[in-house]
Symmetry: none
Subunit: 386 residues, 2 copies
């Protein structure tokens, strides 16, 4: 590390016979600062690199969160907000200019068949997506990272923000991008990998700390980068990350046998990243699979059956012996004798029990006989699961 290494730019991904048009195939070997952090602004850093020299750019740019005042949890604690200076922009126009500047340089240094990944939230991802389309990138997929354990919405004011969005784009419409279809299908138990990926947020041992506090406010999970790199790069490829932070991209690249280049302005992030990547060990292919593919367990809420028409609002549910009868309402709550609540809660109430499994307690009349509500759930699952 730390030395300019010489690598040959590969001919092209596919057969080099016919696709070698405007590609870098005729260029001589280029000098790239491989496996190093360029400790400066990413636009400046990328400007020091030659045209068409990297295979992939993975970017986790500032989200421009625009947070208001402090936020307190119901139990009184304060939420540790992302209030770093690097996330502050004066306006959308300023943010757009910033975005187009780095996207443009990234596009210049990308090989013709290289591709770009960007991750963001609703605060910034629409601007980033529109900007990259304007610059000529061609979107291949948008990918949803469904967080297994997102932060709740403490005040009950909106839907829980439980995902982030990634955009995968090639340099241009006609590019012959890399997509390792088989590798993805293997990871996903022989089913095609979908555009929604379920993964936990970065925590536990993986979360880097310095003096007991998190080293970076928005560290991304390595599993995410694993899947991205495994899917859309090959061994030996060069991956550049313009917003390197604590070096998740570098650590995963090393483990997967890819070269990496990071851009990062902040010294303390650089120090953490260098130490981390030094400690990272290249992995066997076989070890990868265990880190991935926990498929989302099909969990059906009672309300879903109401929404989808399996059970109409107004339907009367009853206990097995028909002793208790309750009415289904539009939001999936039950109404019994002035009490309202979930099928579980009302089930417990009528029995004066501490708890109750409403799925097996309540029955509905299908015209012929009483049937357990749980049967409907099974029917729904059969109809909707692949």
């Amino acid at each position: 590390m730390g030395i300019i290494e010489r690598i040959d730019t590969p001919k092209t991904k596919a057969k080099a016979k016919t696709t070698a048009k405007k590609t870098a195939s005729k260029k001589p070997a280029v000098d790239l600062p491989l496996n190093q952090i360029l400790k400066m602004d990413c636009v400046e850093a990328m400007k020091s690199l030659p045209d068409e020299s990297v295979d992939m750019v993975f970017a986790d740019p500032p989200y421009n969160l625009q947070l208001g005042g402090d936020l307190y949890r119901p139990e009184g604690g304060q939420v540790d907000a992302v209030d770093d200076a690097w996330d502050q922009f004066d306006s959308f126009a300023v943010y757009d200019a910033f975005t187009k500047a780095w996207l443009k340089e990234a596009r210049r240094i990308l090989k013709p068949n290289g591709s770009l990944w960007v991750i963001g939230s609703y605060h910034n991802i629409f601007r980033v997506g529109a900007s990259l389309q304007d610059l000529g990138y061609w979107i291949l997929n948008d990918i949803i990272w469904r967080k297994a354990n997102p932060m709740p919405n403490f005040k009950g004011t909106r839907f829980t923000n439980a995902h982030e969005t990634l955009i995968w784009a090639s340099k241009s419409e006609k590019a012959k991008y890399t997509f390792n279809y088989r590798a993805m299908k293997n990871l996903n138990d022989e089913l095609q990998m979908r555009s929604d990926w379920v993964m936990p947020i970065c925590g536990g041992q993986e979360r880097l700390k310095r003096n007991g506090v998190k080293a970076h406010p928005t560290q991304k999970p390595e599993a995410l980068l694993y899947r991205v790199m495994l899917a859309t790069t090959n061994k030996g490829d060069v991956v550049l990350d313009p917003f390197f932070g604590t070096g998740t991209t570098g650590a995963v690249a090393k483990r997967l046998g890819r070269h990496w280049i990071g851009c990062e302005k902040e010294d303390n992030y650089c120090e953490v990243a260098e130490e981390r990547i030094e400690a990272a060990l290249p992995l066997d292919e076989s070890e990868l699979k265990t880190m991935q593919s926990p498929k989302a367990k099909p969990r059906v809420a009672f309300g879903t059956l109401v929404e989808t028409g399996y059970l109409k609002p107004g339907t009367e549910l009853c206990s097995k012996n028909r002793k208790f009868k309750a009415k289904v309402r539009a939001d999936g709550s039950l109404l019994w004798n002035g009490h309202e609540g979930s099928i579980h809660k009302i089930g417990a109430t009528v029995q004066d029990a501490p708890s109750c499994n409403g799925w097996t307690y309540w029955y509905y009349d299908d015209g012929k006989e009483l049937r357990q509500v749980d049967n409907l759930r099974q029917t729904y699952l059969l109809a909707t699961e692949p």
Copy 2:
């Protein structure tokens, strides 16, 4: 249907006494073409409607990027046929002009506290999202419709496109938008509703056909609209859909006791939609009810419990772990360690917290066990409510 109906613009959501600031409350009743399809271009249709007159706009715009043609072609947008990227940019510019045109009219007719929903895919959603931010809309959530049964990627060239994206936005940053938190929590088995919704695509009986072929290429499932409307509108609200298609929005609005207005140019879509909505059955009043948030329930002052004898002056309250003990006084104030104040204030003081909900923080001993003070409030409410 088919008649201009007169409705009163509601005062405001909550009590109309004091909150009538800049809302539409001072406006006279307005004439709206309720529960009708306006058979023309949506921009033209919306122009015929008054300012601040609808509660929600739900839009499923086309994402054919070539659409609009000369009609929305921006002034001076020259086409350079030599460069693909420029050609592409030009078509994006046309699409953006089209998008901003309808978004702008939609914003004009939205009430100050109304909200907008748009659904799209990666082809168009980034442009729509950036455009609506530019126009002053304030994004509240992006929602992922995770398709339970998406179409596979037959060629194995990309990830299976298994989701679509919805954006939920208020008219402006400060708007007091409607969000039926409790109803959503009910639908989701007592967990906060997240930003990723799993639902099957529209098929089976629900999929409308004409002469054996599907009546509309992108018919949305009613379950999706059901959740959208239940979450962000109230009964009696007016929902406008600028791209009505075969009328999913109208059918669900009718079922849920909302008014609807559709815009649709194509005659055969209109015919299918009218027939469909005619057949849709509205829910009964009782079925429509959803659980209220505590906010909407009558407030009980702590002192009332003391006055009415539910809690005697001199009673000792304590925190859950019995660590802190405070004494109830005759006026409903608490005394702890020389400090006096409301249950909330003293709760905050003992915890050294910025705020505290005293109802849930303090417990009393009923002789057998510790019970939350909030239980007493519920008891009081049950005893005094009709």
